[in-house]
């Protein structure tokens, strides 16, 4: 069972750098995500822009992080866990596709992406450890 981490203060601080402001009276066609902060059913803060940044992971990890293949789901992963995995891959020089991808994002963006996935409940195959080639930190034998 995964714990949901709330990082309100961290995420709110990130919002200060976000430049979007919605017009007050406009109809919101964005599924309620246009307002700067949004609390998901899982009780996780979804800052503005988080969904769009996270959606760049969907091509491989499935729509909303719910994988349809052997690639890991990200939906429902804890925010802290996702952040630490991404930071680890950012820091390492490894010839691995996700290690390059991780380097595309600032720490602030990683927080937003992780907040989004943490807000989605129920991934398909988060922990298929029998297929660890598809794990992001598939070089973690040293610390396992």
């Amino acid at each position: 069972m995964k714990r949901k981490y709330l990082s309100w203060l961290g995420a709110l601080a990130l919002l200060a750098s976000s430049s979007l402001s919605s017009s007050a009276n406009a109809t919101d066609y964005t599924g309620g995500r246009l307002t700067n902060t949004n609390i998901s059913a899982a009780g996780v803060l979804i800052p503005d822009g988080a969904r769009l940044l996270a959606s760049q992971c969907f091509q491989c990890h499935g729509t909303d992080g719910k994988s349809t293949t052997g690639i890991d789901s990200l939906a429902g992963e804890s925010q802290n866990e996702l952040v630490s995995e991404m930071r680890e891959m950012k820091a390492k020089n490894k010839v691995d596709l996700m290690h390059y991808q991780a380097k595309a994002y600032t720490d602030a963006q990683i927080q937003l992406i992780a907040a989004y996935f943490a807000s989605i409940s129920g991934g398909g195959n988060n922990d298929n450890d029998d297929d660890d080639d598809n794990h992001h930190n598939d070089d973690n034998d040293a610390n396992d």
């Binding site: 979007l20 402001s21 406009a26 964005t30 769009l52 959606s55 010839v95 596709l97 994002y105 598809n134």
Partner: protein, 419 residues
């Protein structure tokens, strides 16, 4: 309500005119919803249609205009050539987009756009109004003197052409030459032509010993994954692949299968010409291909809105942001566009810091593959998408583990786009 009065009604709403000021027949605000039309059902268009519905909680009507009932993915299509995939396995229908997401799929072709009245005229006689229009027509090939693409196949848009090229390859005489021409960049799928050279060589090595693959590249060098492809050409397929850079195709004798180039004539047993690319016809005919070369559409990369026409967005291979032309990143662009369109419909501005990414696996043989990845971020200073250098990487050569991952990647992308 017809499309024009529908648009005026929405305009009045956005200007804050109360329903009380409107005739009774217009007092149905609850049922009037913004409409976005998407033209083209490839990776870009299908993704945009899906996410406009998903991210608006179905509060925006989305019409997808696409003439074909089935989209055949160019991704993985080279594997048809060496017999590792069937064309039928690469086909995707629009049923899921329609049934699961409520996208209205209209099987027709757009024949005229009117950006002033915001209407699209279709070949089936319909005229449809829109609040926002998204064009995702893919690429169109440029003419080459003498080239008849029904005889000298491109096989660069998957489907039947790939099946036919497979058949030509199977019918090739032993000791024959498969000659292929690669256009100058930018073209669709940067590693694709080199990947094709490899899988054709793989087929010939196993089935037609003594046959050759001659790669006539319009570029000065292998454009991506140079180490991997160079290794494949000079080691894995040593004596089979002959790579000739800087070779501009000037004309083709389509009956005799001769490529006439800046380096002389190449007689082929099977000739495969991938012609130079430009934006889709609907983009060019409507004055939207306003890049410096006139080939591509300049857009604001925060929304993919054309810099030439308000309310028209261009995503995928036709856009001219400098991002690669390929399915995975077309999906990425479509999400940025869909998010921006929904914000614009809501009277807000697009998200100011989008990131897009490209990833792809390339088969090198029947059981090995390589990969390439890159990400792009919006740079406010240049108002353009810029490659993030640290995100740009490639596999060290080809491996069987990558071959397996290639199908996971492709199936995930197919699913995120069409299901």
């Amino acid at each position: 309500m017809n499309d024009l009065s529908r648009r005026q009604f929405l305009k009045n709403l956005s200007l804050g005119l109360g329903a009380a000021a409107l005739p009774i027949s217009f007092a149905q605000a609850a049922v009037i919803r913004p409409r976005v039309i998407v033209i083209g059902g490839g990776f870009a268009g299908a993704t945009a249609a899906k996410y406009l519905r998903l991210w608006s909680n179905n509060t925006v009507d989305v019409i997808l205009i696409e003439p074909n009932a089935i989209y055949y993915s160019p991704i993985l299509s080279n594997l048809v050539l060496n017999g590792q995939r069937q064309v039928a396995q690469l086909g995707f229908k629009y049923d899921t987009l329609a049934q699961k997401y409520g996208v209205q799929v209209v099987r027709s072709t757009a024949i005229a756009l009117n950006s002033a009245s915001r209407t699209v005229k279709l070949a089936n006689g319909q005229t449809l109004g829109y609040e926002r229009l998204i064009l995702a027509p893919g690429v169109q090939f440029k003419a080459i003197p003498g080239l008849n693409s029904n005889k000298v196949l491109h096989a660069w848009k998957s489907g039947n052409q790939v099946q036919q090229l497979r058949q030509q390859l199977q019918a090739m005489p032993t000791g024959g030459s498969f000659v292929m021409s690669i256009p100058k960049a930018p073209y669709r799928c940067p590693p694709g032509p080199y990947e094709r050279a490899c899988v054709v060589a793989d087929y010939l090595k196993r089935n037609q010993p003594g046959s050759k693959v001659i790669v006539l590249d319009g570029n000065p060098d292998i454009t991506v994954e140079k180490d991997t492809f160079n290794h494949a050409f000079t080691n894995t397929y040593a004596g089979i692949v002959q790579y000739v850079p800087n070779t501009i195709l000037q004309a083709v004798d389509s009956n005799k299968k001769v490529a006439i180039t800046s380096f002389g004539d190449y007689q082929a047993s099977v000739l495969n010409v991938i012609p130079p690319h430009q934006a889709g016809g609907i983009v060019r005919k409507n004055g939207l291909a306003n890049s410096s070369t006139g080939d591509w559409a300049n857009v604001n990369p925060l929304s993919y809105e054309s810099t030439a026409a308000q309310g028209i967005h261009i995503i995928g291979d036709s856009q001219g942001t400098g991002q690669p032309k390929a399915g995975h990143i077309a999906n990425a662009e479509a999400k940025v566009c869909a998010d921006a369109v929904l914000r614009l419909l809501s009277g807000a501005q697009p998200f100011q810091s989008p990131v897009t990414n490209s990833a792809c696996y390339s088969p090198i043989s029947a059981d090995t593959a390589s990969w390439l990845t890159a990400a792009f971020a919006y740079d406010p200073a240049s108002q353009s998408m810029q490659l993030i250098p640290a995100s740009f990487g490639a596999s060290s050569g080809a491996s069987s583990s990558n071959y397996r991952k290639m199908f996971e990647w492709a199936n995930s992308l197919f699913s995120d786009t069409f299901a």
